[in-house]
Symmetry: C2
Subunit: 169 residues, 2 copies
DNA sequence: TATTGTTATACTCTATAACTATA
DNA sequence: TATAGTTATAGAGTATAACAATA
C-alpha cells in the first residue's frame, strides 16, 4: 500500500487505462467467438455505416495504413463477408460492401455490443451509468475523440520506440 | 451518424475502451521521453513498492511470463536502473532492487503520472473528477481489478486467436 | 522431482518501401 | 506526375519449449 504519495491525484487516469484494457479485451473475446478480430469488427461496422467506401478512405477512418487494409479485406472477402467491386468513376478504386452474410454478422456484432455494454456496466445502477456516460463523453470531446468514430486509437505520434538510448543516470 | 440502433445503450463501454487507449498511449509517450517503455515503467513502480522481489514473483504480478521478465530486467540492468543479487536463502532466486538511479527514475515517473493525470482530466472540473474517480473505482472493484495493482491487463484467457475457422455464413 | 532463471525459437501484428495500374 | 491498391520484407513485442543450476 505504498506509504508515499499522500496527496496524490485521483488515479482516475490509471483506472481509465486499466478499465479500457479490460473493456477492449472482453469485447475481443466476444467477437472472437464469432470468428472476428477486433479489426475485423471495426471494418464491418464501418462498412455497415458507409457502404461503398474505398480501401484508401477505410484506411483513413481506421487510422491504418493502406497495406493493412488489403489483408484485412482479403480475409473478410475470403470469408464471404465483404465484396470488392471496381468503381466505374475511377477504376483505381474499389467500392467495398458487406455481403448478405456480412450484414448478418453486423447484426450479431450489435447484439454482442449490447451484451458487452451490459456486462461491463453491471456494477453500476442506472443513474450512475448515465453519469459515467456523460463524464466519458465530456472527456472524449475534450480530447477531440469523435464519440461515434471507431478509429483504432492507441495511435499517437508513434515514435516507433527506438528503445531510446540508455539512461544510466 | 448511423440511423439505426435508436434505443441503444449508453456506449459507455466503447468510450471506456477508446479513452483507455488514449490514456495508455499518452502515458507511453511521456515515459518514452525518459527512455522507458510502459513495461519498464511498470517494473520500476513495482520494484519501488516491493524491493527484493524475485523474477518469478515479478512475473506473476505483471501477468507476464518468466522469460519476458528476463529481457525486461536485462535491459533495465544494462541501463543501471535495477540490480540483481542472488538470494542467500535460496540461491536459485534473484533479489531485484532499484539502484539509486532507478529510484531517481521512479521519482520522475511519479511526476509524469501527475502531469498525465492532470492533462487527461483537464476537460472536467473538480467535482466531476471526483465523480469519475468514484464511478471508475466502483467498476474496477466490480470487475475484480485491484485499484492499486499495475498488472498488465488485456490478458484474459488468451485463446491465442487461431484466426478461428472461416465463417462463410 | 520441482522450481528459478535462461536461451533459442517462433508467431502475431503491423509498418515501410518498392511496384503495377490507372488517372 | 500523382493516387489506389498490392506485394515483399522487416521489425517489435511477446509467447513456448527445452535447458542448467539449485532445491
Amino acid at each position: 500500500m505504498e506509504p508515499a504519495s499522500p496527496g496524490r491525484p485521483s488515479r482516475a487516469a490509471f483506472l481509465l487505462s486499466q478499465l479500457g484494457a479490460v473493456a477492449s479485451s472482453r469485447f475481443a473475446v466476444r467477437t472472437r467467438e464469432i470468428g472476428l478480430s477486433p479489426s475485423d469488427a471495426g471494418v464491418i461496422r464501418l462498412l455497415g455505416r458507409e457502404p461503398g467506401l474505398s480501401q484508401r478512405s477505410l484506411a483513413d477512418r481506421l487510422g491504418a495504413v493502406p497495406s493493412r487494409v488489403v489483408s484485412l479485406i482479403d480475409s473478410l472477402q475470403e470469408r464471404g463477408l465483404v465484396e470488392r467491386t471496381r468503381s466505374n468513376a475511377d477504376r483505381r478504386n474499389y467500392e467495398l460492401h458487406l455481403t448478405d452474410a456480412g450484414t448478418a454478422v453486423l447484426r450479431e456484432l450489435r447484439e454482442i455490443a449490447e451484451k458487452h455494454e451490459a456486462e461491463l456496466l453491471a456494477p453500476l445502477n442506472r443513474e450512475q451509468i448515465a453519469q459515467l456516460g456523460f463524464l466519458l463523453a465530456q472527456l472524449a470531446a475534450g480530447h477531440g475523440l469523435d464519440a461515434d468514430l471507431h478509429r483504432d486509437v492507441a495511435r499517437e505520434p508513434v515514435v516507433r520506440e527506438s528503445r531510446v538510448g540508455s539512461r544510466p543516470a
